[in-house]
Symmetry: C2
Subunit: 599 residues, 2 copies
Amino acid sequence: MRTQYCGQVTAANLDQTVTLCGWVHRRRDHGGVIFIDLRDREGLVQVVCDPDRAEMFGVAESVRSEFVLKMSGKVRRRPAGTENANLTSGEIEVLCHEIEVLNSSVTPPFQLDDENLSETVRLTNRVVDLRRPQMQKNMMLRYKAAMSFRRFLDGAGFIDIETPMLTKSTPEGARDYLVPSRVHPGQFFALPQSPQLFKQLLMVAGFDRYYQLTKCFRDEDLRADRQPEFTQVDIETSFLNEVEITALMEEMTRFVFKETLDVELPSPFPRMSYAEAMRRFGSDKPDLRVTLELTDVTDAVQDVAFKVFSGPATTGGRVAAMRVPGGASLSRGEIDEYTKFVSIYGARGLAYIKVNDAAQPNETGLQSPIVKNLHETALRTILERTGAQSGDLIFFGADKTNVVNDALGALRTKLGHEKGFVTGEAWCPLWVVDFPMFEYDDESKRWTACHHPFTSPKDEHLDLLTTSPGECLAKAYDLALNGWEIGGGSVRIHRADVQARVFDALNIGPEEQQLKFGFLLDALKYGAPPHGGMAFGLDRVVTMMAGAESIRDVIAFPKTQRAQCLLTNAPGEVDEKQLRELHIRLRQKVETQVEVGKS
Amino acid sequence: MRTQYCGQVTAANLDQTVTLCGWVHRRRDHGGVIFIDLRDREGLVQVVCDPDRAEMFGVAESVRSEFVLKMSGKVRRRPAGTENANLTSGEIEVLCHEIEVLNSSVTPPFQLDDENLSETVRLTNRVVDLRRPQMQKNMMLRYKAAMSFRRFLDGAGFIDIETPMLTKSTPEGARDYLVPSRVHPGQFFALPQSPQLFKQLLMVAGFDRYYQLTKCFRDEDLRADRQPEFTQVDIETSFLNEVEITALMEEMTRFVFKETLDVELPSPFPRMSYAEAMRRFGSDKPDLRVTLELTDVTDAVQDVAFKVFSGPATTGGRVAAMRVPGGASLSRGEIDEYTKFVSIYGARGLAYIKVNDAAQPNETGLQSPIVKNLHETALRTILERTGAQSGDLIFFGADKTNVVNDALGALRTKLGHEKGFVTGEAWCPLWVVDFPMFEYDDESKRWTACHHPFTSPKDEHLDLLTTSPGECLAKAYDLALNGWEIGGGSVRIHRADVQARVFDALNIGPEEQQLKFGFLLDALKYGAPPHGGMAFGLDRVVTMMAGAESIRDVIAFPKTQRAQCLLTNAPGEVDEKQLRELHIRLRQKVETQVEVGKS
């Protein structure tokens, strides 16, 4: 129907007759002539309709925004001074000879260039929203990135093997989406939270190198960067160790960024232990573009009079300081705002010390309501360790370790970007390694797996599984980028005896093991090779690449934070007949029936 | 850990030291020497362990089938006469220097080369089953085919856009799999039966060319070539008509077969109308490798005494003949067997006439219990139309049209292959076009959509929508290959007024339209471009390519015909807590409770 895309007509086509199909982006009448910006996925082109061709002009007069047109005409240079350098087609225009309306349009719910739309309006009218050039670019970028992952993995001998969507419910952290079985009354499939067990089975089956770009599902209350269904670049390989796997994954990441964005990521990516990342940045995915750091002062404040510090310092908590260069100029209002911000992360306050000019007669040169309750040794240690200078400000976090890390870690990133404490680099990847195997869950009073129970402990830490689970490190690694975790993985356990010891440490008894993971444990007995892998969050990677505000801007048909599709109105009600076939009933209705039964 | 794959060590590596990882496929002790066939995904290599290296030999003595080994050694030529031409590595062997057991294995549930395993045993032990060289090849072939589809589509400007898995239940033929919502009590998501509506929305959104290799779900009772979840190569394009779309899809199919199997499919594919396919082959996906054909004789037997023929012939049914050259030699037993076979398709018998040598004194030269009830004109017409010669046999089908077509169509394929009535060509693709828009459903007494309600009628048949729906043809096309439907598609309706008329013909009122397809109808108002597409069944295509017996042989983790995964035991029971969170109850349990309530 057309000779090329609208957005691809250029000066190279001068004097050619072209046929184009597209949408009316804008129509302007100017000096008796009609100008139509015709749009398709590749961009815009200006079509000029002169009144001397009456029939064509009559059609042009009838068109409105978002009508679908097919037009033919001659490419000519735009009059001098009317070029548009922002368009690929900006030097030329098409003098219209013929025009045909392929379809009309009612008035669209909003103008495509309206920048002030609520997300509700956008998602309700998603089809029109997706026509916006930015959304077209985002979806193209997503495709480009996905294909780049595929190309690299294909070249490295990985093969895409599809794993089931209808699988078994295995409590693996998050809540499952369930699918009632019609054939087996009272039984349910679960949608996969990840293909973790299947990809391990594929390694045991000898496929050697596996990948898949696949949907995963978690029925959790949604945060800004989460969706009920999300896409994972899922990878597993045999006969490689931790160092080899991370090197390969790093090469892939560089390849994808180069191909997709023409960006050179640093080589090699820096590596940091989990312990160091938490100590220095309060986060296992620190944004290394921010130059601010946390400094541990727990040991220095154990005996101070200020209970807010000495309390956590003497009961296994953490007291950390964060120096803000020149921060003494922060206003009372700004500090109040940051105090409010850290409270989101559970911090009950935000202590600080302003460091005044040392030349002042004031003996410590420090200004803060808390200074009088900290003895001089403590203050000196704090100043020495943070390296604070006159004019600086020191923020403190003092609480349970995770509260301090969450609060100061988040404050570090926020304040760093707001106040310009950044390196100026656009992309700062970081391998975070040496994760602990377990964390202690205060509620259930037992050790839980930090990663998942199939993660291999470090070879030299095997004995710690029994003697000191808290100190046992895992062959696990995360890839952080600009403060986001974009991927994570581990070397898996390939020996049944080690797997059994990990289950012991997790207090998962033989019966529970067999019930939940029996098929994996069985498979491990039949000659499982050493193997490991990684999974990347495609939605996140593309969100970052697109510089988008939300992952919903890189997903064609996303759900809201209430897990709804505003376009199709999913979820929705279903027929009673459907429920009957699935051997289930709604709980609400049932209660009514029970009452009827009683009366 | 290794220098190359086991299956890739060849004479090019002579005298090199290689390090290999793999599984013990077979271990033989011969003349004091141990021979190990080491296996990985690329194939086998023979490892020779001499007793002169005692430590290594000790390890070699300890290994059993399916142990995972890492070994180093020198590549040498096999002694003359011991080469194995079936293996890439068949000219060489590796003289083992070092060996390490990476993992042991209990005795596997079966030998990998056991050809007589039940499917239950194979699926229960799927991980070991997947190690079989044939299954490894099948999964590699599947990947190769999938990547070939992607490469073609990528090159043709199509982009992969992911559509939701958690979507809305819209009765589109088959039964939906439902997913209860936790956040919205009493509401359900449905897993997509196909991304049909979403891909049309993407066209309206202006993405122009879309594809996706995606899982689709149908909760139907399973036949041999069906799975609850299956993979579709889903394609949609704008601004192309029926002829252009099928030409592009044909080019793709040739590309994929060439790249994957190095097979040249015919160019162009033959095209045939649905009506002709049914008339000549009793099937809308005829196997053109079979040379037998059906001949319509309905008009010729309307007034015969034989009620089995005249009944259907005078009440809108069909009477068809199928000539079997040389078939007069079929035995009574064979004919009985075919009679039993057609009964599967609802035929109540299988009438036949044997054509004897015309030189015989018998006046008609025909031999059959039914001849006496057919008058001479009828017999002459039958002989003329079928072209039957002496020594031939003619089978008859006489019943409702669809029963005749199903029964004789199936018999044609079975008998054709069994008795060698085949062209000798390996691959016979066929476009079947000009499908009817609607078929009449006797049960619900109304017209239903043959394809789906978004299929465009032929431009010249628009008026038939109202006057004569049964004669209205659609812009729909199927691609058949060797008797299988491997893909199907259509040009869609892009104008809201045409869509409304189709809904009228289907007797779907405005309220039902809005409820079920409101978001599509809304989208059509905002300037929908002319568009159409197609979907290929990847599982089927690969099954045919692999020459596999079942689609389960080209799916890593398939379900049984009872929709169960024997490996993971999915579906399974779930906790009461999970059901409570989803606001549902099991029907069985509820009934018990109601009774308790009453007592």
